[in-house]
Symmetry: C2
DNA sequence: TTATAGTTTAGAATCATTCTAATAATCTAA
DNA sequence: TTAGATTATTAGAATGATTCTAAACTATAA
């Protein structure tokens, strides 16, 4: 069975052609940072037509299932990340591109005290890059 | 002269009633995290009417002048921060509220290598909080 | 004063994302 | 293998935050 189909089956998602295409893409390039717009463009270039609503539905579903991770970077674009490891990002605004920073490339020697009654949910670290000079 | 007016004068911004109201608010509560929507509500409660466009115009202008700092938190809301120190944030999604983390409450013992041809522009660290249990 | 440049505003426009509700595909039990 | 039920896809409308437009207003300096 196609790897993409296995992934979908394991998450109880029907292997529609659209889903297979999306999961396939994610599996092929491992460690992807995707945006709905980027995905649509990718599929358009390959003459695969998937509606924007479906792209969003599925990326969100995959995030719900824990196959992708979802977050936002600075502006109001939603990003999906197939790297499930704990990690951080450089953001290259020139290219509108994220670059992974491995968890062990940043170490904290001191961490702030969490406010009373609360616990840490997730940490977002984004280092915004600009061109030298 | 009113403190707010001095601030505006120093930045070459005409002290209109709307601007004075906004800067006044920022000066009174020092260290504020504001959102256009929050400001509008605040002024509505005090029966001061300032249009949404003006709120945005002025918050953005104040950010341009370096009187506020502008950034985004997770979702697509724009935040303005009157704390100009280098610092980070907790985000309490329950209350839709930011809490400052002083720069010296986090220390890095290891920092990632910046990609070639690039330099660090800014760092965003947001620790998302959720309620205990 | 008055002319000019700067400001405010209502409402339209934009853009990313979600919703709606009609249609289509997949699955399952018999 | 089907029929019926369930789940997915889709076009297009709706939403919400922000910005734009262009007309009316205000501050300022001469
Ligand atoms: Mn939005
Ligand atoms: Mn937006
Ligand atoms: Zn990543
Ligand atoms: Zn702050």
């Amino acid at each position: 069975m196609l790897e993409a189909k296995k992934v979908l089956k394991k998450s109880n998602l029907r292997p529609t052609s659209q889903r297979v295409a999306i999961v396939d893409y994610i599996l092929q390039k491992n460690k992807v940072h995707i945006t709905a717009a980027k995905l649509i463009t990718h599929f358009k270039n390959k003459n695969i037509s998937i509606s924007l609503a479906t792209i969003y539905n599925n990326l969100n579903e995959l995030a719900d299932k824990g196959i992708l991770r979802k977050f936002y970077v600075n502006n109001d674009k939603m990003w999906f990340d197939s790297n499930l490891q704990d990690h951080y990002h450089f953001y290259d605004s020139e290219k509108d591109e994220l670059i992974d920073i491995d968890k062990n490339e940043i170490s904290f020697s001191k961490s702030p005290k969490i406010p009373d009654g609360k616990i840490k949910d997730s940490i977002n670290i984004i280092i915004n890059l600009k061109n030298k000079n």
